[in-house]
């Protein structure tokens, strides 16, 4: 079972909302799709500048493996207030701990609407269909 303290997008991002701040990352499934369990296969992660305003559904960055490039989609709207710069040089963190140390950005929520989010049960059901 994946963490139930947060919500998910069908495109395999997670978002954890605490008061007015949303922490965003990608799921273990996303990491595994990119690198098939071989952390050395991840080559690059591009994260936004601080202060960038993102809309729900918008691409805020890219992650690339030996095989492919994937967009990182924001589940929420707001301003990027923190970026996990450790990730860009240590992509293995995403394999080791996508839920906590592997967070990507923090966004200060605006009043704009969010993407339609899945709870953990709905996300697990989605993954079960793929596996």
């Amino acid at each position: 079972m994946r963490p139930d303290d947060r919500n998910y997008l069908p495109s395999h991002e997670w978002v954890k909302i605490e008061e007015q701040t949303a922490t965003i990352g990608i799921t273990d499934f996303a990491v595994d799709e990119l690198c098939s369990g071989n952390e050395g296969d991840l080559v690059y992660c591009d994260l936004p500048e601080l202060g960038r305003v993102v809309d729900a559904g918008e691409t805020f960055g890219e992650i690339e493996s030996v095989k492919a490039v994937s967009d990182l989609n924001s589940p929420v709207s707001g301003e990027v207030v923190e970026v996990n710069s450790e990730i860009e040089d240590h992509l293995e963190i995403l394999s080791d701990d996508p839920w906590d140390r592997g967070w990507l950005i923090r966004v200060k929520l605006s009043q704009e609407k969010m993407s339609e989010l899945l709870d953990v049960l709905a996300y697990e059901a989605l993954i079960a269909e793929k596996e």
């Binding site: 098939s36 071989n38 050395g40 296969d41 080559v43 690059y44 591009d46 890219e62 690339e64 030996v66 095989k67 490039v69």
Partner: protein, 344 residues
């Protein structure tokens, strides 16, 4: 064939340093029988089939009437028939093309893809490993030649000294029902030398390092054989006679203003199919393949660029979804194995 069995870059190194085994069951396998088979194939393919000796193999292409390729293939000349190995994704198109042009020729086209399969073993240790499972001396089969031997106690098995990796090795043709036993026996035999199964991801990197074209990338319905540097597989010899796409391809070659080049990218990100290529900010081409290259320890790719920007060492850039990264034109192939001196 899976994309990978383990880490892709480790699989590439395994083939370059030791040996890898590939499940190529997906490739199309077709035989041409009949008294007109050579004349027929010469009329539908770019290479000069009548000049290929018995027991030899040549790379060739099928072209549409507009000169652009429908597929690329290997042609094996057996005394009794011609064997074609074609791309999995093009089997239906190739068969339709062959049948469409077969009127008036006494030729039979037999698709044997479903009842046969193919395993490749490639790498510096590959021949020694396979020799341990073979009844006859493999050194008698030269590069791009084929022969027959008992393999893992299966008699009269076809072996060709071909591959898609830039390494020495063989491709083994088997009945589908024998494939699993041979696969397992070779893995067991090669285990002590480090033989491992290799997936499609590493296969793509290996062929790119070796500068080999892939249909849909370096050649496609928009990228013809002459701009891809495949002149060696195209015969305009008069004695060969006309063939589908001949005059159109010749005209394309004469009018050509772009060419395929190798590129390296020193940044973190490899080139990817479709990225625009620029010179001083002006578009001059497009990336067609790209990969992290563990052998060169950099990122590599192929691109079509205007011939004025094709010299090795030319500095270009690629546009990665709005971000610019440097590229350097590099000679193809990126990698050539050191060949052992021939036994005298």
């Amino acid at each position: 064939m899976p994309v990978q069995y383990g880490p892709i870059l480790e699989e590439v190194k395994c083939v370059r340093e030791r040996a890898g085994i590939f499940d190529l069951g997906h490739m199309g396998r077709v035989r041409l029988f009949g008294p007109d088979r050579v004349r027929f194939l010469d009329a539908v393919t770019t290479n000069y089939v009548a000049r290929i000796p018995d027991g030899a193999i040549r790379y060739s292409l099928f072209c549409a009437p507009d000169g652009y390729p429908i597929d690329d293939l290997l042609v094996y000349v057996d005394p009794d028939y011609l064997r074609l190995v074609i791309n999995a994704s093009n089997i239906e198109a190739d068969l339709a093309f062959l049948r469409e042009h077969s009127d008036g020729y006494d030729v039979t086209i037999e698709d044997r893809t479903d009842r046969t399969t193919m395993i490749a073993i490639q790498g510096p240790e590959a021949v020694a490993i396979l020799q341990g499972a073979c009844g006859s001396d493999l050194s008698e089969i030269g590069y791009y030649r084929f022969g027959r031997s008992t393999v893992c106690s299966i008699p009269d098995t076809l072996l060709s000294r071909t591959g898609y990796t830039g390494e020495d090795g063989f491709e083994i043709y088997l009945r589908t029902e024998d494939a699993e036993d041979v696969w397992n026996a070779l893995l067991e035999l090669g285990g002590p030398c480090g033989l491992q199964p290799i997936g499609l991801g590493a296969r793509d990197t290996l062929r790119l390092e070796a500068g080999m074209a892939l249909y849909g990338h370096e050649i496609s319905p928009e990228h013809h054989a002459l701009e891809a540097g495949l002149q060696f597989a195209v015969s305009f010899a008069e004695e060969k006679g006309d063939w589908v796409g001949r005059d159109a391809l010749m005209a394309l070659g004469e009018a050509g203003t772009r060419t395929l080049v190798g590129v390296t990218a020193e940044g973190k990100r490899p080139p990817r199919m479709g990225y625009p290529v620029l010179a001083d900010g002006i578009p001059v081409g497009e990336v067609r393949s790209g990969s992290v290259s563990p052998t060169l320890e950099t990122n590599i790719g192929t691109a079509y660029v205007e011939t004025t920007h094709a010299d090795p060492g030319t500095e270009l850039t690629m546009d990665i979804r709005g971000k610019t990264a440097p590229l350097l034109v590099h000679p193809l192939p990126f990698y050539s194995r050191k060949r052992k001196p021939k036994k005298s």
